[in-house]
Symmetry: C2
Subunit: 154 residues, 2 copies
DNA sequence: CCAATCAGGACTGAACCGGTCCTATTACCC
DNA sequence: GGGTAATAGGACCGGTTCAGTCCTGATTGG
């Protein structure tokens, strides 16, 4: 299944949206433009800022801005920013329960080639690629862009 | 994070183990050989049998057997067998809630290139590759192979 | 006929995730 | 200088999903 968190999808939406708009954008503003609830947008942006995918400016008239072009942001970076490091096994991401302590981990290294292949695949796709794969209808005329199901709830 | 289910890891262990042994193997036998709890092994084998990765023989003296060589089993098949189809978004795997009904899905197609890249990456790695990437110490002398943490609990 | 084994589903307890909210802290503007 | 608008960074709760177990059939060999 390889489930990807929904937050990561929101992050892509927000980043693409951010590239469509000029200047500094606030998180309430982006929430309105994307239809994603404001607290959620804020959470996503905080994570993205911590990973330097966007730069933040505090205070009144503050907001967020892209630090680089969409074509310079591999999707792997976005996933790593929201979901943490890309790895498939619990073994890799320090669950720490008995694996290292025993010195003998049966699955040590087994998934390494797989992780590597996935990481490589995700690094070769940029947000610009994903933006292009969107249907033209959703490519941000004004605010018809995002979460239609959210809009229905309002 | 891209979490992969633990069952899938078990499946790899069992399949590799199965290729090390001659003839038909029972699920209690494989449980003993791998250290994985028997009900869990049985569950995994049922799924693998349903996907034709192993063939089953019922009745007394029955058991499981590999249907093809490890080098002919891409890891993508194992993941699909245990975790279901490989797709990252909830949208793809029929959650059905309002997405299609509205005719306008904002994330429609956005993740397609990513899914495709991942699927391709996972299809290019076979179980034989994963077997080789194991440390020699764990490559099945007798039953030193698997879950060391399980063995410790017995 | 009996025992061993697979088939298939139901069930439960625990972990994870999405989403919200609250309290600082910073910077602009009057 | 004070008020306001915005980010920073947590803590927190509810729902969902998953790992693991068990139970009841169906099948086959002795």
């Amino acid at each position: 299944m390889l489930r990807l968190s929904k937050l990561t999808d929101y992050a892509v939406v927000v980043l693409v949206r951010l590239s469509d708009m000029e200047g500094v954008q606030t998180s309430p503003g982006l929430a309105g433009a994307t239809g994603i609830p404001e607290p959620t947008v804020a959470k996503v942006l905080k994570n993205l800022a911590a990973s330097d995918l966007v730069s933040s400016q505090r205070g009144a008239r503050g907001g967020y801005r892209l630090t680089r072009d969409l074509s310079s942001i591999p999707i792997a970076d976005v996933i790593a920013s929201i979901d943490g490091p890309i790895a498939l096994t619990a073994c890799v991401e320090g669950s720490g329960s008995g694996c290292e302590s025993q010195g003998l981990c049966p699955m040590r290294g087994r998934w390494d080639p797989v992780n590597e292949a996935i990481h490589k695949a995700l690094s070769s796709i940029t947000l610009a690629d994903m933006q292009m794969s969107l249907l033209p209808a959703f490519r941000a005329p004004d605010l018809a862009h995002p979460a239609a199901f959210q809009a229905a709830a309002e």
